[in-house]
């Protein structure tokens, strides 16, 4: 019996543990703290935090043979987890407000400006273009899109990008209001919008996800898997004939996948990939993308307000960033805070779901453009 070997095997836990790991466990604890005490996107930050702890206790995603590696290979490398989550998300979205006010869709486009602005900025700072694009896509403010794009362009940055995407999404009630107050006048925030939607038939609601899939898959084929799964979920919901499948998408599929996705993402956050200045750069630039999204959305809202001669409340520009449904609710609440009779929730939801669509399109186009450039 070789005792030195035995000793080595028994003390493996300690010998492989360093200060970096300890620090990363603290990062994991912080994420769990945010999830449990602050309830910031707990269904994702809690598994990410726990996965981060495991990655630094000898169970990282890139070590063949373990559960974390299995989850990563099965769900992230294949893109399956973010896509399955989108099936569930699609089954939870109601596009009627957008269909009733299709002009709202423009605000969704404006809310993606931060993605591209940060791409330029990060390139200027010196990030290679694939990494710069992956950082920019935090500005999609949409977890599955960010993970889908980053896992293709810069898998080495997946951990911080996912953390940034989900953290900032949950920080909306803290980040957006000051920007909204700064960018809009009280008079603008008091604008009431007439809610006189066009009636939307069941046929339109059922055809919508199919048509969107066709149109977007043709224009932005790189976004096709994302838009297709999102719209599949929505079709399951709106068809009204496959309640079993719609419920499976909204429960079994999304719950199990979210848990596994979070763990696998967290398990990429080893000390050697996360503890770099780069990571701080990612977090800072991601935040900037978020802010620029909001600013661009508000500016476009003001433009629409000007063009329509004050019929649009610019606040709904802020929820074109996506982050469904938090951003939509926040905008409506801001209007209500100024004037307790000013109800713009329907418009905000139209803009917000438009942002969801535009995020996917922008993410897909980014992927195609960067792949085309990198060839």
């Amino acid at each position: 019996m070789d005792f030195s070997l035995l000793y080595q095997e028994l003390t493996r836990g300690f010998s492989q543990f360093g200060w970096g790991n300890a620090l990363m466990i603290a990062v994991g604890l912080l994420l769990i703290y945010l999830a449990v005490a602050k309830e910031y996107e707990p269904v994702l930050l809690l598994p990410i935090g726990f996965g981060c702890i495991l990655a630094n206790l000898g169970m990282p995603a890139n070590q063949p043979g373990g559960l974390m590696n299995w989850l990563y290979k099965v769900g992230i490398e294949t893109e399956v987890f973010p896509l399955l989550i989108f099936v569930g998300v699609g089954a939870m979205i109601d596009f009627r407000p957008l269909l009733a006010m299709p002009e709202m869709v423009l605000l969704g486009a404006a809310g993606q400006f931060g993605i591209y602005a940060v791409l330029v900025l990060a390139t200027l700072i010196g990030y290679p273009i694939s990494q710069a694009a992956s950082i920019g896509v935090i500005g999609a403010i949409d977890g599955p899109t960010a993970i889908f794009v980053a896992s293709k362009l810069a898998p080495e940055m997946l951990g911080p990008i996912a953390v940034a995407a989900y953290s900032y999404m949950s920080l909306i009630p803290i980040i957006q209001p000051p920007i909204m107050r700064l960018m809009t006048t009280r008079k603008e925030r008091l604008i009431r919008m007439e809610y006189a939607p066009k009636p939307v038939s069941r046929l339109a609601v059922v055809l919508f996800p199919i048509l969107v899939t066709v149109v977007i898959s043709l224009i932005a084929p790189a976004a096709a898997p994302l838009i297709a799964t999102l719209m599949l979920g929505n079709l399951l919901r709106e068809s009204g004939v496959v309640d079993r499948l719609s419920k499976a998408a909204q429960n079994e599929i999304i719950n199990v996948t979210t848990l596994f996705l979070g763990l696998a993402i967290g398990a990429t956050m080893t000390a050697d990939t996360f503890l770099r200045w780069q990571t701080l750069g990612i977090l800072a630039l991601g935040l900037l993308a978020f802010v620029l999204d909001t600013v661009a959305g508000l500016l476009f809202g003001k433009l629409m307000s000007f063009v329509t001669r004050g019929k649009i409340n610019p606040l709904i520009g802020a929820c074109g960033i996506s982050a469904f449904p938090m951003a939509g609710r926040l905008s409506a609440r801001m209007a209500l805070d100024e004037d307790f009779e000013n109800f713009i929730l329907m418009h905000a939801m139209g803009s917000n779901t438009a942002g969801q669509l535009a995020s996917v399109v922008a993410g897909g186009l980014l992927l195609a453009l960067v792949s085309g450039v990198l060839h």
Binding site: I129, A132, Y195, A332, L345
Partner: protein, 121 residues
């Protein structure tokens, strides 16, 4: 070519295509809603509107049917806003869709004594 030039080109083409795609979606949606009239709406339009039974909502002050609906929708939307705190995307489902609430509200308006009903509930 320098990366920054590439990045600028990507930004230009990317934002441009996003807007083009979104404009296409706008057109598609507008067409879709136009070409698929809401049967329920059409039917309710044919229905007699029981004007005599609505003493509590004076038509005189210029409130159109649509505006009245919007008012009721707003009341219900407000309740939704107050009851549901900003929550994670995954908790979006359980809450009734604001749209559905507003449509329900619209039906209420049609069914004569809308405001009283909304108050009682």
């Amino acid at each position: 070519m320098q990366p920054i030039i590439s990045a600028l080109w990507i930004t230009l083409i990317g934002m441009g295509l996003v807007f083009i795609a979104i404009l296409l979606l706008w057109g598609m949606m507008a067409l879709l809603v136009k070409l698929t009239p809401d049967k329920a709406e059409a039917e309710s339009a044919n229905q007699p509107e029981l004007p005599a039974a609505q003493p509590s909502i004076p038509e005189a002050d210029g409130l159109t049917q649509r505006k009245r609906r919007a008012a009721v929708a707003a009341v219900i939307a407000a309740r939704i806003l107050q009851s549901t705190p900003p929550a994670s995307g995954m908790q979006a489902q359980p809450a009734p869709s604001p749209w559905q609430s507003s449509q329900r509200a619209a039906s209420l308006t049609l069914a004569a004594s809308a405001t009283r009903k909304a108050n009682r509930k």
